[in-house]
Symmetry: C2
Subunit: 199 residues, 2 copies
Amino acid sequence: MDPARIEAMLDFLALADRLKTVERRGRVPLPDGTTRRENSAEHCWNLALVALLLHREVAAEIDLGRVLSMIAVHDLVEIEAGDTYAYDPAARLTQAAREAAAAELVFGALPPDLGARLRALWEEFEAGETAEARFAMGCDRLQGFLQNVLSEGLAWKEHGVTRADTAPRMQPAMAADPAFAALIGALYARAAAGGMLPE
Amino acid sequence: MDPARIEAMLDFLALADRLKTVERRGRVPLPDGTTRRENSAEHCWNLALVALLLHREVAAEIDLGRVLSMIAVHDLVEIEAGDTYAYDPAARLTQAAREAAAAELVFGALPPDLGARLRALWEEFEAGETAEARFAMGCDRLQGFLQNVLSEGLAWKEHGVTRADTAPRMQPAMAADPAFAALIGALYARAAAGGMLPE
């Protein structure tokens, strides 16, 4: 391999490492009974595990390699743009512009062929048009919801999120496949039983 | 989907969440200039990104979907067995037995078909015999080494690790493909230039 290519890959990996310091609102239960915020790198691994569990439960034929590739890169723009909370309408208004600028910087740090390949995966996820992108979206929303249920709805309570507030985010996931509807339905039931999400 | 299957999948995901609390020795640089330990969930995501960057740089034809699936599950046993430091010979003596017992518990929490599928991926990674498992091993060792270089060799210094100590772990990765040899060679050069790893 060309030395410049090697150095560029290592520099990109040094940049990508910062995803481990991007905090989400969802919380991770700790062994001592407290919680801390989840970071976006942990979320990406968790999402990969959800996709691995579910890819044969859905009706569509899913290219798992493409899904897992999309998942690995789908949040890289947050290194520059930060995580945008699902229930923060003001931040969501500027999200697309912030993330497009971040994509130039993050994918631009790679050798052109690799940058184009990773950027195409991110764009496929964002566009949500392929079966793989819709499946990844369903896994993403399921994982975010699950994280709240695992931490007794702390982030929901912190931000005053109601069950109705979650509908615009969770309905597309539930509509993506009956398997998502079943799992998310079961999570709504757990949230209700635990008094985590007011009507 | 059968309700019992749904509940078992959610319970497994609740258990798997604990991987985010398993600390490794490698350290993550923070924006304030300090570091903290990396956890195994972050490591798994990072490894997936390394695999995505490298799978077309190696000579072997690699099934990326299988590699990324293996990566997503390869550390799940640490939920019960903990992370075993690469340079802790006493802990490594008991590692296989501790991880085999953990596998029973972790994969046994899933519906049998899913448990068998995930367990087979973990076993393939551990056996290191397929092209995909060898590729994943190379990515794993590269990522661990990179994490030390990104945090100025702090974990190496903390444990008195020398360049010679790293050879038994890094040589198999460098032998797996010239691309790994080139990238790890460049990382050794960065470590040497930064005085991170004494001879």
